[in-house]
């Protein structure tokens, strides 16, 4: 039966595309839509992900079309906006994204982008009406636009480094820890002699995207990275490796060994790196043991987030930290194939233990399922904060929307991310617990 959706966490395609473009240095997005789209992007997305991006606030360029542009077509307004944007904001690439109204009207966006290119402006475009799909679809569209249009616009003479690996599937802001997570995944790849192409975040620019076709391999770390990998396989015959979920803790070792095997890297070097990293992480575990038992860390948890987070973080909490996965909620509507990964890595590994799994982005439905599971701690978005207060259990905000903590460089991916996760989770557990009273 149809029912209303409360506090959806998946914004629209326009925002997904904007988030990608904003995360690349030198890319200037230009919205062709009504004024609300840009404002909503700020209010509903960038402001709710631990901090803002350069254009993730009202200054984003927008054609702000009015009724006359709907009736007579908004092409000329876009032409004017593009011209003004190029004058006012210096960029290496201008990316047009469109909203619902201009797509309903059928404005000829490719023609406008071509006009810009005829003026020697580097312009790409993507048609991103919100009715076409959600934020994840928008990420796909923007990636597609870059892969397909960039080679015709900016010619690169740069030599591609050998062992270059493109990383796909982390959507800026939709994963509030995207910057840190990408950095840590990059560090892992460097550790075994590869050259990561992070593509997004500080220092990543149009040149990074120009290197994409020359990569040795595409690394997919969420269901949303499968589409770019497929696209690149078709265009450039680049192979890919899919690793469902952000690798946290020892999952990183599995990923590194798979890469080493597939790319025929030096296994001795890889094992040395893994040993060093795991030893360091184990030392952190050892330091935590006393508090772990005194404060009763081992308990049932509820985890609410995108599939890549739930699988990555959930697997670590269960396999390495001994917590019990009472309720898992996947909010990003991934394809059913993600269930296989969930089952093999998470829900069936504890014999006789039942885990509730829910695919939903509806706040009240999520609350009902989490409440029924009576978890000992909740990990989710800031929307679950009140629920944790209601149930009187510790809470850690780690998924979108995230508006009750600041995230700048923090990561939960890799070995270092695992240690950070332990710090945050442990702190949440002991805050307000009896353990504090005993200690003081």
């Amino acid at each position: 039966m149809a029912h209303h959706l409360e506090a959806s966490r998946n914004s629209c395609a326009l925002h997904g595309a904007l988030q990608l473009f904003e995360a690349i240095d030198g890319v200037v997005p230009v919205i062709h839509s009504t004024s609300g789209c840009g404002v909503q992007h700020y209010l509903g997305v960038t402001r709710l992900s631990g901090g803002n991006d350069t254009f993730g606030s009202p200054p984003v360029s927008s054609s702000n079309i009015k009724q006359k542009h709907v009736v007579f077509g908004g092409g000329s307004r876009l032409r004017e906006q593009l011209k003004n944007t190029v004058k006012v904001v210096q960029g290496d690439l201008y990316a047009i994204v469109t909203g619902c109204s201009t797509e309903m009207v059928g404005d000829d966006i490719p023609a406008m982008a071509k006009e810009g290119r005829d003026q020697e402006w580097p312009v790409i475009y993507t048609n991103t009406p919100g009715f076409g799909g959600d934020v994840h679809h928008g990420y796909h569209l923007a990636v597609k636009a870059l892969i397909e249009q960039l080679p015709d616009i900016v010619k690169s003479q740069e030599k591609i480094p050998s062992g270059l690996i493109n990383i796909w599937g982390i959507i800026p802001n939709q994963d509030p820890f995207w910057r840190g997570n990408l950095q840590e995944v990059g560090r892992l790849l460097e550790g075994i002699g590869l050259v990561p192409n992070l593509l997004l975040g500080s220092g990543q620019n149009v040149a990074s995207w120009q290197r994409v076709p020359g990569a040795l391999l595409n690394l997919v770390i969420s269901p949303w990275g499968e589409f770019p990998a497929r696209l690149l396989e078709e265009r450039y015959a680049t192979p890919s490796i899919t690793f469902e979920g952000v690798p946290v803790g020892t999952a990183a070792s599995i990923l590194l060994r798979r890469l080493t095997e597939q790319l025929e890297l030096d296994p001795i070097r890889t094992e040395a790196f893994i040993t060093r990293e795991e030893l360091r992480l184990n030392q952190q575990f050892a330091r935590l043991v006393d508090t772990y038992y005194r404060a009763g860390f081992q308990r049932e948890f509820a985890l609410v987030g995108e599939s890549a987070q739930v699988i990555g973080i959930g697997e670590f909490l269960v396999k390495s930290f001994g917590l019990l996965p009472r309720t898992l909620v996947i909010t990003d509507n991934p394809s059913e194939s993600i269930r296989e990964a969930l089952d093999s890595r998470l829900t069936t590994i504890l014999p006789g233990y039942h885990t509730d799994v829910l695919f939903s982005e509806d706040k009240s439905e999520i609350a009902d399922v989490v409440r029924a599971g009576e978890p000992g701690i909740i990990l989710g978005s800031s929307l679950e904060h009140c629920l944790a207060l209601e149930l009187g259990v510790p809470f850690l905000a780690l998924s979108f929307p995230l508006f009750d903590r600041i995230v700048l460089e923090r990561a939960y991916a890799g070995y270092r991310g695992a240690a950070v996760l332990l710090e945050d989770l442990g702190s949440a557990m002991i805050a307000g617990s009896k353990y504090i009273n005993e200690a003081s």
């Binding site: 009724q67 006359k68 542009h69 709907v70 009736v71 007579f72 077509g73 908004g74 092409g75 309903m104 009207v105 059928g106």
Partner: protein, 291 residues
Amino acid sequence: MSLKQGKHIAIYGKGGIGKSTTTSNISAALADAGYRVIQIGCDPKSDSTTILRGGNDLPTVLDTLREQSKVRLEDISAVGFGGVLCIEAGGPVPGVGCAGRGINAAVEQLQELHVFDEFKPDFVLYDVLGDVVCGGFAVPIRDGLADRAFVVTSSDFMSIFAANNLFKAVNKYAPSGGARLGGIIANSILAAYAPALIDDFAGKTGTHVIGYVPRSLVVAQSELYGKTVIEAAPQSEQAQVYRNLAKYIDENEESVIPKPLNSPELKKWAREWGDRIFEVETGVVHEMASI
């Protein structure tokens, strides 16, 4: 909009079927009978009222919206034959923008200008673009703007198809205060079977035909002079046909919610008529058929 002035009538039909000619002649006949009439062309082609105005240029409502200048009623209207106030909604050039939204915007603009309060019409006729292809073109029959809709159709199947689509739109909006159907105007009647075919369609959809307009040279000739038949050939039989239509619209308040045929029903109905026409043309005589 304040209290509605006059009777508001929307006239629909497939493109090229003769809506504007029919509407203009009805407007002319109503004006000739002493009524105050406004005719609003709701078609981006902006040629609804041409034969009422002798073919002179008239800036459209949407042209003024585009310019964003202060709009006055006299800028967007012209007084045509018999004092009919002619207005063209206008629209974008083909292939650009959204004409449907244009109709919406033009109607809003007219309401802001208080056209109906100022002019105090007895009749307002909306001449609306062919098929009801999207929500925008249904604006005149939504929200209680027009009280009644009439559809102009010939005996061509595509024209009947468009009429059936309008019935669907009326059927959808009428229960919530939209216009009801006043009836069918059978136009371009030439073939002997045409009235029977249109009558049969009316019967099947719970509607009725309010008049049959024969195909006539007088209409073509008058149009070439940039005039309505009422003006160019007032004594002609054709003029009387239009006067009768105007009289019906004036005196008759009857309206229904039509029962449109669904797609298989319409196809089946059309095929049956195809067979019948074939038999008539080839002289097949059925048993017991009265000749």
